[in-house]
């Protein structure tokens, strides 16, 4: 699966481009922290921006494992669930534990579980590995439902988030939850970006492109694969904690079912395999498309399309888009954006 071209990895980025990129970064930050909190409505925060941020983080996690390290996983939702329930239990059972520390501990617990289910990847390759990640998916969902200790003996396994206090500030309102999610996601996104650009990322890509060859040139396969599983699960775990605490407030294990895993996988296919920015683009796409289709259907197709059929139509469109992207643009929205940016830049230089 050769997705990143060699020039992308080895090229020296021209100084002018670095400046432009940095400028764009500052612009995004100003928009996210300055403009959006000022003009955003509660609906935008709760229904669009927070799920977008959380799913993007989960996408980054899966992209580390599938896009960079080449290990296909259908268990992202399981690791999200572990992160959510672990954070909840740490907060519940450890007095005076800061919220962000609980998120980190939840992520680490997910990383541990991820390593356990990643162990078979050393002996099993390719599609056979799906069985391990699916085992994780079904086992975690079952364990969280059956063993009520995880949900503090709630009869239906539902957990409810406590008030979100960070350093004495209350982040429980929609705007607060947005800022909390934004900060966590951006910080972890930056870490991931640096990680995949360094030695670790190169090792992952080498294993992805051909693990036998990677072993021959001295890359420790065991360490590299397990590190990919741990990192990926950590990100999914924190995303799960945010999903439970910052987005929904209450979740049950079935909120993290196989469909959620597929959703995360679709995010990285549409956004771009092997691209951190792609996870964000894909998440935006997957959050916005159903809302868009909903609006189109109610505005223009009222009476033509049965509302109960809308979900099926959505499936049809999603499936079609997946196939379309795989055929036409396997590197996803991230590639389209990059191509467009290059074109604009070239035009600017010519003038």
């Amino acid at each position: 699966m050769a997705l990143a071209s060699t020039d992308e990895i080895f090229s020296r980025v021209p100084a002018s481009r670095v400046r432009v990129d940095r400028l764009a970064g500052v612009g995004v930050l100003a928009l996210a922290y300055g403009v959006v909190p000022a003009v955003g409505t509660d609906y935008w925060f709760s229904a669009i921006l927070i799920p977008f941020l959380v799913l993007a983080l989960a996408g980054v996690g899966l992209n580390v494992l599938t896009g960079y390290a080449g290990q296909l996983s259908l268990g992202s939702a399981a690791f999200m669930a572990v992160g959510a329930f672990a954070s909840y239990n740490f907060l519940l059972r450890v007095p005076h534990l800061p919220l962000l520390v609980a998120f980190a501990l939840g992520g680490l617990t997910a990383a541990g579980v991820g390593v356990v289910f990643g162990l078979p990847s050393l002996r099993i390759k390719g599609f056979y590995l799906i069985v391990s990640t699916l085992a994780a998916q079904f086992f975690v969902e079952w364990a969280l439902t059956k063993w009520s200790w995880f949900s503090n003996d709630n009869a239906s396994g539902v957990i409810t988030a406590p008030p979100l206090l960070v350093l004495g500030h209350d982040f429980s309102g929609p705007r607060g939850r947005y800022l909390l999610a934004l900060t966590v996601v951006l910080a972890l996104g930056m870490v991931a970006r640096n990680l995949v650009r360094g030695e670790v990322g190169r090792n992952w890509m080498a294993v992805r492109d051909m693990d036998t060859a990677a072993a021959v040139i001295g890359i420790p396969i065991l360490k590299t694969k397990l590190l990919a599983f741990a990192t990926s699960s950590f990100y999914c775990g924190v995303a799960g904690a945010l999903w439970a605490f910052a987005y929904l407030g209450t979740v049950e294990p079935h909120g993290f079912d196989l469909d959620r895993s597929f959703q995360v996988l679709f995010i990285i296919i549409i956004g771009g395999l092997g691209s951190i920015a792609g996870a964000f683009l894909g998440a935006a796409f997957i959050v916005l498309l159903p809302i868009l289709m909903d609006n189109v259907a109610t505005r223009f197709l009222a009476g033509v399309v049965d509302p109960s059929n809308l979900e099926n139509l959505q499936k049809l469109v999603f499936g079609g888009l997946i196939i379309f992207f795989l055929i036409k643009e396997p590197e996803g929205l991230a590639r389209l954006l990059r191509t467009a940016a290059e074109r604009l830049r070239r035009r600017a230089v010519v003038r």
């Binding site: 078979p120 599609f127 086992f139 079952w142 196989l258 999603f318 499936g319 997946i322 795989l326």
Partner: protein, 293 residues
Amino acid sequence: MPFFLEVLVGGLLAGVMYSMVAIGFVLIYKASGVFNFAQGSMVLFAALTFVSIVERGVGFWTAMAITLAVMLVLALVIERVVLRPLVNRPPITLFMATLGLSFMLEGLAQTLWGSQVHGLELGVADTPFEVHGVMVSQFDLFAAGAAGALVLVLGLLFNKTRLGLALRSVADDQLAALAVGIDLRRVWAVVWAVSGIVALVAGLLWGARVGVQFSLSLIVLKALPVLIIGGFSSIAGTIVGGLLIGASEKLAEVYIGPLVGGGIENWFPYVLALVFLLARPTGLFGEPRVERV
């Protein structure tokens, strides 16, 4: 002891039903190296199409013929629109394409025919009868017979016909097959059509059992561990794998389940498959891959 036997027999027969779905996988994997996640959706699509046609007052066999024709057309379209543009792409890409395909088929089937549950009557009653003190379901036996017949027909097709020879050569080495003049596209279309037919048979049997509804497409998740244990490229393997999974799943649910709170049917087959894989990474009958740098 009779209780143990009853659970065992019930499990074995359920396993045969799993194998039916897994066979469709193997056919496609052998001929094109594509791991077809959409097999479950094809089962749903075929069964839903058949039932909806029957409900519109068409006779059983006519409906069967129409559904077969629909599955053939579907196979041709899939080959043309999905597979051909993706030739020479990595297997993981093709897998994800079939994931998209499975969403499309589920959406299409339910958009066309609605998402309510349909009953399906095949004329075989689901009544148990007694053999030496063990209760056996008549329907399960019928299903096992159908599966046996299907495997027999497929075996004849693969081993005794010219088409089968072409299929086997493609499975063996695509490049060599192309070199001797075998039309790869036609072979793929044929294979997808055959697995469409297998999907129809599986869909009818499962549909008669649990009703024709969305959950039919989820049996793909039951067939996966069967496939893993049997190996991706062996039809005999899927039968053995199906029997193993079916029997151990039911026995585990009855004997281990109560100890841990029950409901372990969902994940137990996967853990079992995982244990098998750790011992034999390519399944019981799978061919080990030689890797060259």
